[in-house]
Symmetry: C2
Subunit: 407 residues, 2 copies
């Protein structure tokens, strides 16, 4: 079994890095806070005597490989350590630090796996500063060219490649090892299912599709006091109608579709000026590929009709688009077996969140292990998983990695 | 008659001060751009040999007074030179520069009015950076204590008093002269009425009530992918519903009520995080005091029901509240007479915008002259009034001021 205290202490220590003066944890990708988190992680990797490789997109790998297995593809475990704004401490970090813990445990136990084992911390999984999300693993898996990814302009106008150079995490080469033998990612569920059902281990067999767009509506600025309602072209009001449409549709649809407008801005954003422009993001998800396409089409048609009815220009820009992913059935089975051997109930389930595993699944057999999130809360400082569940999940990861590395 | 070329040249020159690198005119109250505009105005006032006084709230006065009339209260003309974001060049500046032009014209003509004549540029009329709007004239008229006004925190976190000191426009004393004998303000209409009816002069007899509030809705941040629609407490969606409610109500009411949401912000404002907080401004106006109160009550009751239904906290903060104002009937009559004498059609009308005249009306007989706005467009760089209309309005102002100063 893993060293529970070492794992929990590291999770808590990393969770203190990147708190602002209000105590809010925000380690956006390639920020100063992210650099501080990365530096600490690399220090732990080196203390564990792992070979540290940073690739061009800034993914960090800690590799345990020896003369006996160096010819074989590594078993990869990992996740990310970037966070959203005002985040919890578990999302991503739990998977990376558990990966490190598993390697240290196996090494200290004197095992000699047939495959190298490596832990990865992928760059910009959250997608909050730079879209798309899961960018580092997407590049790693060949789904996006590294040059295109490095040129991404962030919500703050920064360029990812410049920021990675600035914080010292723009590596020179590719990841330094071949396509992995297998990938397993341990993560907090971030949703309500496991807690509601009282099950400690989720064996994640698929992951829903993700559609991110930015919508820009152009109206006409005019005076809030002098312009009769009938003469207005109010971009802000049009945005409000789109948000209400999306929400009401998802709310009443009797499907698992979720719709979120997380970002918004009006221009000129002045109290007595009718907004000339409204910009907002739309996050649509559904486990069913057809249904996700239908939801996107419904939005497009609503925007089309609204633009015509209000005589406004409405533009959409795609920020991310990922089809639903099915994970490797054998690894999902190994997760269930490992849980059973440890006396833990498990449940096959869908992931509501996007994860690096969904990208790595393009190049290697992959699956995920979930542990319960209290209250189903995530992307919130109240994100919480009990120590017992954290340790149980890491032990399941240990067993699964050991099996995969023995092949 | 006034010197048309001098007036038009000054309007255009002032309209170039405060343009950003994109060519957008933004001279927010007490900003660097406002300082540059103020400096230019003061230079013109000094060139016209007026006595320049700056009061504690930063209102600028240019006074023409001589031994023969110094005992009498001045006839005051004026408006403001601060602007909204991405503004036109006429709003406010037209009234201030026409006031200066009228004084210069009367002086050059060798007239000897029974009252001093002064032109005022009031601080922060727009209310975009600091609420309430018409702040300088409100303080001047005794409706708000100068200390309270100076402590106002702006949308950018700045404090008005500190900003006025920084730009060198925190005067030491009160305005330096007693309550005015009368006040007349010339302004572009900023609405569609005069142009639609083909009338060059508006004799403004009243001004509608203004209600400004900031609404803050508290929901719960959670993950956009994992949180089922039924488990969300989405502050952004609630805000969208309020905006739709306000707009639909004003749109279908068959009254002149106008409702605008000009500013909005979500927190944490991240693409895959359900907004935990939405903040937005509400600008409600109606010429009828009862109806404005009813509109405020309808909003309050909607917010109350929404908070209960969604189990959210909704707070409102008052940013400005002004009752409808009726202007001085005699001055309105003088405006009509002056227009007739110059062969110009005129029309009694209501002001949709707030103006400094509405504040000065608390301490002196006051009224306003409007000239047409092409397309009814204002608070927009496309704000435009023809030179002919600008000059006609300034000549009407000249005649009215001459009459008032003769009493
Ligand atoms: N796990 C996680 O929160 N990923 C962020 C990407 C997303 O699902 O929005
Ligand atoms: N005239 C003018 O635009 N005033 C600004 C205050 C307001 O009416 O919102």
């Amino acid at each position: 079994s893993i060293n529970a205290e070492r794992l929990l202490n590291r999770i808590r220590a990393l969770g203190e890095i990147g708190r602002d003066s209000d105590g809010r944890l925000t380690r956006l990708a390639a920020s100063d806070a992210d650099k501080a988190g990365r530096d600490r992680l690399v220090q732990w990797l080196r203390e564990a005597e792992l070979e540290v490789v940073v690739d061009r997109i800034g993914n960090i790998f800690g590799i345990w490989r020896d003369a006996g297995n160096a010819e074989n593809a590594p078993v990869l475990v990992g996740s990310h350590i970037d966070t959203v704004i005002d985040a919890g401490i578990y999302d991503g970090c739990y998977g990376v630090l558990s990966g490190l813990e598993v390697i240290q445990t196996l090494r200290e136990a004197g095992t000699a796996p047939a495959h190298p084992i490596a832990v990865a911390a992928f760059t910009n999984e959250e997608g909050v500063r730079y879209a798309p999300d899961m960018m580092g693993s997407l590049v790693y898996a060949g789904g996006l060219s590294v040059d295109q990814a490095l040129a991404t302009v962030g919500t703050d106008g920064s360029v990812l490649g410049e920021e990675l150079r600035r914080i010292g995490y723009a590596g020179a080469d590719g990841p330094g090892f071949s396509k992995p033998h297998a990938y397993v990612e341990l993560h907090v569920e971030q949703g309500p299912v496991l807690e509601r059902e009282g099950v400690p281990i989720g064996a994640v067999e698929n992951l829903q599709g993700i559609s991110w767009q930015r919508v820009t509506i152009e109206g006409v600025a005019n005076h809030a006091g002098t312009t009769p309602m009938s003469m207005r072209s109010d971009a802000g009001h049009a945005a409000a109608r789109v948000i209400a449409f999306l929400y009401d549709r998802a709310m009443t649809s009797n499907t698992p579709t979720v719709a979120t407008v997380g970002c918004i801005a009006f221009e000129p954003n002045a109290i007595n000026v009718i907004p000339s422009r409204a910009t907002f993001t739309v996050d649509l998800r559904d486990p069913d590929a057809e249904r996700l396409r239908a939801e996107e089409a419904a939005l497009a048609s609503y925007l089309h009709d609204l633009a015509a009815a209000e005589d406004m220009t409405i533009a959409t820009e795609r920020l991310a688009r990922f089809e639903p992913v099915t994970f490797d059935a054998r690894i999902v089975g190994l997760i269930e077996e490992a849980a059973t051997m440890r006396g833990l109930a498990s449940k096959r389930m869908t992931s509501g969140a996007g994860h690096d595993a969904q990208m790595v699944a393009r190049v290697a057999p992959a699956a995920m292990i979930f542990v319960p999130s209290v209250g189903g809360i995530s992307h919130n400082p109240r994100e919480y998983t009990t120590d017992g569940d954290l340790v149980a999940g890491a032990n399941v990861l240990l067993d699964v990695v050991q099996r995969l590395a023995a092949d």
